[in-house]
Symmetry: D2
Subunit: 116 residues, 4 copies
């Protein structure tokens, strides 16, 4: 994991330790909290059109950024709890996706998006 | 943002550009995809006890890590689309949380977890 | 609760009893399963425009209806587990909403949708 | 659909019509709102143990019932928008599940819950 992400992950661990909150941080609970935060993020967009979602006003943009931070913080706590290297896992996934959606097939037909 | 995260974010942008997928990647749609991936992560835990979630077998651990990667990848694509510095936003949030839950009050009574 | 909903709820209880699944059906777990099903429903719409979501083809329509059924079934199982009368709770909520969004104020300005 | 559910669905349609809110109620948006409400429901349980989730105090029980009502109301609005008979869809799903998890196989080994 990168230095800044590792630093954040360590700060989160210390934060929870100081408050004796590790007892609540079973992976199952962190996965619940992650979904809850992701849904709070989605709440900002639910009645907007796609175009409106591309041009948020400044107050909404800040609120959305704060929700994105919450998602990242729970994801890092989960990576702590399960000892997962997030960046390595993401790199692996990117390689899988490159094989799954080769440019010459994916370009223009967007099968991924039509055939769920 | 850290170098490795920025590198991942750039790879994702190139990946979508090559496939002409930016048209689908309105922030609203990326927020939907983020929740969907977070829920796929939760699906692994839904029938487990908290203790079971702390000791996943190797196959489940790998599957969970792959779902966590998906969450990170959509979060990075959203940060691209909205021009949000994720690590900076997370640092800001950590400072807010430290003020909101001071150690001497939060320790032992876990108010955060009882009073939602 | 209405007769048909009550009948469904009773069938679900019997279904779980016969399989000795009540042990898994803590309200917390059912709430997890409900979110997971709701996200599977959302997955069908995540890359569609709003207009496309209004005119699903027949195969997609059937798949969406099946996901909606899953959401209802977990909601009913949760109402069993917590002894909640869903229809009564919904009627109460409707009255609250009518007070919260009076027609003469809500009509045309859609405050609910702009100020989340 | 049962009479009480149909009555609720009709009330919701009238409620939205009076406020000119149908323009916001594309199925995609309703599916977003449904996930958001389901996550608000889950939020009540995220830090509870399964046992705690089985014995909510009265205030929490009422709050949970109100969130369950919100989930039902959006599910009904989606059934309006897509012309889906929810009870019929649920009955179909129950029959599918009975074939998928026969009692003599499902009882005691809970395969459904181990093999996601």
């Amino acid at each position: 994991m990168t230095d800044s992400l590792r630093e954040l992950a360590q700060q989160l661990q210390q934060f929870a330790n100081e408050r004796d909150w590790q007892q609540f941080h079973a992976p199952k609970n962190l996965a619940c909290a992650l979904v809850v935060e992701a849904a709070e993020l989605l709440e900002h967009f639910q009645w907007l059109t796609e175009d409106q979602s591309r041009s948020l006003d400044s107050a909404r943009h800040d609120a959305v950024a704060a929700e994105m931070a919450d998602v990242l913080l729970y994801l890092l706590q989960l990576s702590n709890a399960l000892d997962v290297d997030l960046v390595a896992a993401a790199q692996t996934k990117l390689k899988t996706n490159a094989l799954k959606y080769p440019v010459h097939l994916a370009r223009g037909n967007s099968t991924k998006y039509d055939e769920l």
